[in-house]
């Protein structure tokens, strides 16, 4: 069987995610099944052996991400897929992935929370957990698909970004997108742009955490003969633990700057009818499909509404929000949570920001968004 299933498919979102991973060259999945992400794990369990990869079902999500980080350190593109409760368990090892600069992809098909919440029903309430969930300072990268095609496309993007910046990258899907079925067009393997981690050129004087000018250190693989040391403790360029203020400053600053400096290259968004918009609707994932419909109806009714759809929620495209705030009278932010990204928009928009919230368990309705647009348009 081929790794890239070139052609047109009618495919479940979760399966498209798995196929995206395979097309990106993923050869390892460590996971623990959880609704509504199980179909991604099932697909990987079926497909990875067909393409010479490995699938391991671990004892839990802590072990799952540990296995993923280990596989990545050994040089294999690796991933896991989970949902809220599993994502919570993974937070500790997300920090380990950040600090050891280990590329991997973590898919969270969000369901309603907190806790066990709504296993079979949608939510988008892990957006801030993706930003802040592990302890300590770090910058997150999160793609948010809003279609089955994007489950495929953005999983590839996530792998590329993870490899490029040497960091775990999130695909923050949701139950609606994960469990819907749409056409997914998979291009030929040669048309899929792939990025692989930067590799050291010579063993002599190699320091595993000495960055290049772009702040990204070339990565030697375990077992290749390079002298490497990997730890969760604050470490110097050799990777050895150094427990002092200066080393902490140097390491944390670089890890943060590694992403912040490149943020304008990482962040992505899509705009519809924002050129002359008085009201800019900012949305992402499943909710953005309702937002799109609401904006279309508002336009037909003569209201100058536009849509800014976030492709990455992290890094947050703050620069563009600031620009839009110069001419827009108000922002409306629909999301299937109680206003997480709405506050983020508020930080950068000088104008009014109105939240359209939904506690989870279903799709946010276009009518709710339209009503808010009309309220501000008055």
């Amino acid at each position: 069987m081929k790794a890239v299933l070139t052609g047109s498919h009618f495919m479940l979102g979760d399966i498209a995610c798995a196929e995206g991973a395979l097309a990106a060259g993923c050869k390892f999945f460590g996971g623990y099944p959880i609704t509504p992400a199980t179909e991604t794990a099932e697909r990987m369990a079926l497909r990875l052996p067909q393409v010479g990869g490995h699938y391991i079902q671990m004892e839990d999500e802590i072990g799952s991400l540990a296995a993923v980080l280990g596989a990545s350190c050994a040089g294999v593109k690796s991933m896991t897929a989970t949902s809220g409760p599993g994502f919570s368990l993974m937070q500790e090892n997300i920090g380990l992935g950040i600090v050891t600069e280990t590329p991997c992809v973590i898919v969270n098909v969000q369901r309603g929370g907190p806790s066990t919440g709504l296993p079979t029903l949608a939510g988008q309430a892990d957006m801030m957990q993706a930003k802040w969930g592990s302890h300590g300072d770090y910058e997150a990268i999160a793609y948010v698909p809003n279609s089955c095609q994007e489950m495929f496309d953005f999983t590839i993007k996530a792998f590329n970004t993870a490899e490029k910046y040497r960091q775990p990258v999130f695909v923050m899907a949701d139950e609606i997108i994960g469990h819907m079925t749409e056409r997914v067009v998979i291009p030929g393997p040669k048309k899929i742009k792939l990025v692989s981690r930067k590799r050291p050129k010579r063993k002599k004087n190699y320091l595993p955490f000495k960055p290049d000018k772009d702040l990204i250190p070339p990565m030697a693989l375990a077992g290749e003969g390079y002298g490497i040391h990997v730890t969760g403790l604050t470490h110097d360029a050799r990777g050895y633990p150094v427990i002092d203020e200066e080393t902490q400053h140097e390491m944390v600053t670089r890890l943060i700057e590694k992403i912040r400096r490149h943020a304008p290259k990482i962040w992505e968004f899509e705009e519809v009818m924002t050129e002359d918009a008085d009201i800019v609707v900012v949305s992402y994932g499943a909710a953005s499909r309702s937002a799109g419909r609401a904006v279309n109806i508002a336009r037909k009714e003569g209201i100058k509404a536009g849509l800014m759809r976030l492709i990455t929620v992290w890094p947050f495209p703050e620069k563009r929000i600031k620009e839009l705030a110069e001419s827009a009278k108000a922002f409306v932010v629909p999301e299937i949570n109680m206003g997480q990204i709405s506050r983020e928009v508020e930080r950068f928009a000088s104008g009014r920001v109105l939240s359209v919230t939904h506690a989870g368990g279903g799709m946010l309705s276009p009518e709710a968004v339209l009503q808010k647009i009309k309220e501000v348009a008055k």
Binding site: S8, H9, F10, P119, T120, I176, H179, M180, T181, E182, R183, A286, R289, S290, G292, R293, N296, M363, P366
Partner: protein, 179 residues
Amino acid sequence: MEVRLGGFGGQGIILAGFILGKAVAIYEKKEAVQTQSYGPEARGGSCLADVIISDEDINYPMGTVPDVLVLMSQDAFNENHDKIAGDAILIVDEDLVDASAFRKKNKVFKAPATRIAEEMGKKIVANIVMLGFLTGVADVVSHDAMKKSILDSVPKGTEDLNLEAFEKGYEHGKNSVAN
């Protein structure tokens, strides 16, 4: 256009929705989104599949008010029969659904899908018989596209059985319209 298929877990309702969506999205090159809802039970719980079909991009992916409602269990009928557009058509499996409570003026078709499947010796293909019936009575999808989609979606070695089920349902559907 929205098609809602309802029944209980184990009848292949969601597979039926998938086959319909695939026929439209892959073989007719229109847009289609299929979603579903079901209870936590593996079998026997109530289950729904919604398929939205459009010539344009589909923004909002969830079903709202169906134009075609296909119901294969009494529970699905009880919960869904009044959520229907004025010019929608209702199709029920006549041996599984008592539709006497339906008071609206919509066109109602009664399909012996499960009975036909049982006569074929394979009750499991009732969903495919129903897809045939749906293709015969409603202007949703072409016979050709459905046939291709079924062939693509059923397990190897069961193609003939499923095509026979589809054709039988289709014939019944065509006859129901003619009568």
